[in-house]
Every structure is written in structure tokens, then in C-alpha cells.
Subunit: 304 residues, 2 copies
Amino acid sequence: MSSPLSLTILGCHSASPKANAHPTSQVLELRGHIFLIDCGEGTQVRLRKSKVKFSRIKHIFISHLHGDHIFGLVGLISTFGMMKRTEKLHVYGPKGIKELILTQLKITASFTTYPIEFIELSNDESEVVFEDEKVRVSTIPLEHRIYANGYLFQEVNPPRKLNLPLLEDLGVDKVYYGKLQKGSDVEHENKLIKSDDVCFVESPKSYAFCSDTVYRPQIVPLIKDVFLLYHEATFLETEADLCQKTKHSTALQAATIANAANAKHLILGHFSARYNDLTMFVSEAKQVFENVELAETLKRFYFE
Amino acid sequence: MSSPLSLTILGCHSASPKANAHPTSQVLELRGHIFLIDCGEGTQVRLRKSKVKFSRIKHIFISHLHGDHIFGLVGLISTFGMMKRTEKLHVYGPKGIKELILTQLKITASFTTYPIEFIELSNDESEVVFEDEKVRVSTIPLEHRIYANGYLFQEVNPPRKLNLPLLEDLGVDKVYYGKLQKGSDVEHENKLIKSDDVCFVESPKSYAFCSDTVYRPQIVPLIKDVFLLYHEATFLETEADLCQKTKHSTALQAATIANAANAKHLILGHFSARYNDLTMFVSEAKQVFENVELAETLKRFYFE
């Protein structure tokens, strides 16, 4: 694998407040980026607990404008201001997010010390919303009670890695390693060592965040071969009727998407408050997809 | 004393988020009323932890529109809707609170199932904002960086209580107790027992909530002889210069107000995040007012 990917869950429960169930928010770390995804109420306190440095957050992606995914954003934005942040913040979310935040900042006299760029979304087709030399982020159109997108984070240009056992076999001096990794060929004991022969590039990592949504097989081509899929599983199959009504998914449906997309790993979240025991979500999902885990507040999933 | 009064602290820290420091919110219970005062982010989760029944909250009083006193309100209002509340909610707060909440409810498609009445305040003089046969609530104009009010909750018509030792001495049959308590005189062994002779009324309880504010002796006449005073003490005297700048008070200033008002009890809160050890707040306040305690998240202060 190329670069490490980590996902820290700040909240993974649906909207009804319980003493120890927090609404959706998570932090993705990929190629040096810290991306915040959704921002339910109380996110900033759990960010503090997670030890993620506030100043490293430059991009915030909001799936949809239901309160359990957005009510913590204005508090975080205000706190950035109290911390005298100067660096620009980029906020991606459905059309309306700018008015939602700016109205609150104005009425609460929470003037920010830094610029905010709102990237408002209204497209029903997938689109690239962020791209640099390391990561590309595109939307995954979902189907919920209001306009909603998931996000696909894809590593691009994964770094070349050295085939260390081969280099040792060839007896190449370590002083050449840097050059070889960067793509230059070198001469060693009168033999040309080609960079491409001693370096390799593993498949790039990717993460798909899909919440909230009804079962939607149309997303499968967009997330084909994804490394890690987070898919909501608000209900179990016993409550499948509620999924259609509230536009949510069951654990089995989430796993069916993971299986069809040939994902490597699946994490389930957005559990309804009606379930005290979540182990059934795993067993239901495992009927069609083995490599599944449950999201858990302040749990960090780390993949080398 | 007449009726019990209890104050449950849901949060008592200033705006900067820390892992275990929550912004202002508290629940006052007086004569069967449950009043919510201020509603910083995450209030609904701490309400759950406090075991206060959401449905018993009918009146919410907001001191001012800074985020650490208001950002939790829209989430609570949305949750009331998810719980299918039907009873009217009364929200008291500075002008602008209605637009703040309604804009969010509209954009987040959080339709409420119940009516909300916003009582918007802009008066610089104290005014009565709520009154029934048991409790009167009036504003306490404060001085902060934006328009702010404290609130004075006063018990009215405290219940008549029976002088039980006297009734036993007189040998009055218990069947007459109800009548006597309600104010009727009764005949007992050919003697007239006057209700007023065997009943008494203790001094009514009252609670003054004063946060956020710079030191403001003008409030003393408004809260004269108050039973319980909660006064902000964001800083210690060593940071008195910050009080003027940020329009906050020191522990000594809060205690000076309590002493001048002849309060029975003082609770300090709204502590700045800069202090890890809060014991200095008590010792500083005790220089001028002995009966002082510190607010603490989820602590319940109970007074018979």
C-alpha cells in the first residue's frame, strides 16, 4: 500500500441525542491532509478529545444540511476565530450552507479573523470539488430526504517506494536511494541501476463517505474498488420499511454496496438510537461482506 | 423557606472549547416550573445526562446571542420536533433570536411539530417577561459586548404552611388541616381556630442569573435580598484588565455584587479556559462574601 490513511470517528449516531451517542463527524487523514467530514453538534469538543490540531483543518466537507450533520459547524468556525486563525477555510456543502453560516455569524457577532470560501453544491452528477498534487475529492450523489452528497477521497500520484530487499541484494549503496526514489537512474559498480527496476508504486488509497442515503446501487460505479468505504447503516433489515420512509439504509444494504463495489474495508455508522446492542449490524453485514467494522466515537481506524 | 429551588448546571465555562469544559446552560426548578437558561452547544446531550425530561421545558431564557450561550438552541428545538412535541415553547432572548433560529430551521428542513413563541427583548430597563400565579420572571439589564440581560426568577404567592407544633398543642383534628391551610377558619371544641393564627408564609425564594457582564453595581437594587445569585466570574483580579476589555467580571466583583445585594447564596461560573485550578475563585470571593460555591457541570444545587 502507498500512504497511510486514518479515519477518526468523532460521532457516528443518528440525530436523537443520547448521553453517549454523538451525531456524525469524522476526520480523514490522507497524504498530509486533514479533512473534516460533517460537523454535528458538539464536534469541536470531540475534536479536542481526539487531539487533532484545529489549525490543520483547511477543508470541511458537509454531506447535507440536516442538523445532525451541520449544527456544530458554526461553533467550530467561531472557535477558529477566537484562536486568531488567519488561514483560509474551505467549506464544501449543499447550496444554502453559506446563508446558514453567515446568518449565524452576523447575528451572534462572531466575526472571523480569516477568510472562508463556501463551495456550494447543487449538481446531481458526481463532480470534482478539490484537487491538488496528492488528493482528489469528488462528490457521490446520494438520495436522502434533502439534497445530499457523499465524498470520494482519492490519493493521486502515490509516492514511488524503494524495493529495499532487491536493492540490498544488488548491494547498492544507500547514498543512491534518494536519487533512485525520485526517478533517476544511477551507476553502481559499472552497472546501470534503473530507477523503474528498483522502485514501485502501489495502488493509491481511497476513501468513500456515504451518509445519509437510501440504498442506492447507482453509486457503485463511482466508488468501484475503493479501499475504505464508510456507509451509513441506520437500521437493521427488521426495520427495512423505515429505510424507505426515512431514506436510510440497513446494514445488509450497506454491505451489499461494499461487496458490489469490491471495497477492501467497510465501516458502518449512523446507528439509530433504538439499538442498544450494535453487534447485530456486524452479523447482518457479514452475510455479504466479511471485512466490516463498526464506527465508534473517538475510535481511530488506521491503515498502512 | 417556602418551596424548594434547584439549579442544575449543564455548562459553566466560557467559550473556548476544552475536552471537559462546557458553555453556559442551566436548569432552574421552581414551583413546578422547569426553566432552561442559556443553551450553549451540546446542551441537549447534558440535558439527557441530567435526566431532566425534555417535555417539561416550556420556557427558555437566553441572556445574549454570543455562540457559547445560544449555539445549542437550534439542536434542542429540532429534537423537540423529532420527539413529536405538540406543546408551545416560549423563547425569551435579544432581538434577532427569532431570525437566528428560523433561518436555521428553514435551511436544515427541521420543521417543528409545535408552535414557538419568540419574546424578543430590546429594552434597557428591567421588565417583567413572564408571570403566572407562582413565578414572576423579569430581566436584569447587563453590560456586555453585545446586548445582554440576566433574569430574576421570583416566587410569588408562596404556599401557606401549617404551624404543625401549634396545631398539635391545640389538639386540632387533622381533618381540618386542609381547610385551615386554604385560609378557612374552623370550629374546634367550641373554639374558633383562625387560619391566619395557625398558618404562616415564609419569604419567597428567588434566583438571579447574571452572565455575561462587566462589574455593574446598577443591578444591585434589582436583585436586592435575592435568595440565590449566579454571577459570572470569568477572571480573577490578577486579570482585571481583561474584564474591562472583554466586559466580564472577576470573582471579587461577583462577590461584591452578592454582598451589596444581601444575597443568601452565591454561585460563580463562566470560568475562562486559562484557569486549570478554580479554587482561587472561591478564596478571592470569600474576601467579601462567605457563602459562595463554584458551578460545576452536571452539579445540582438544591435548596429546601
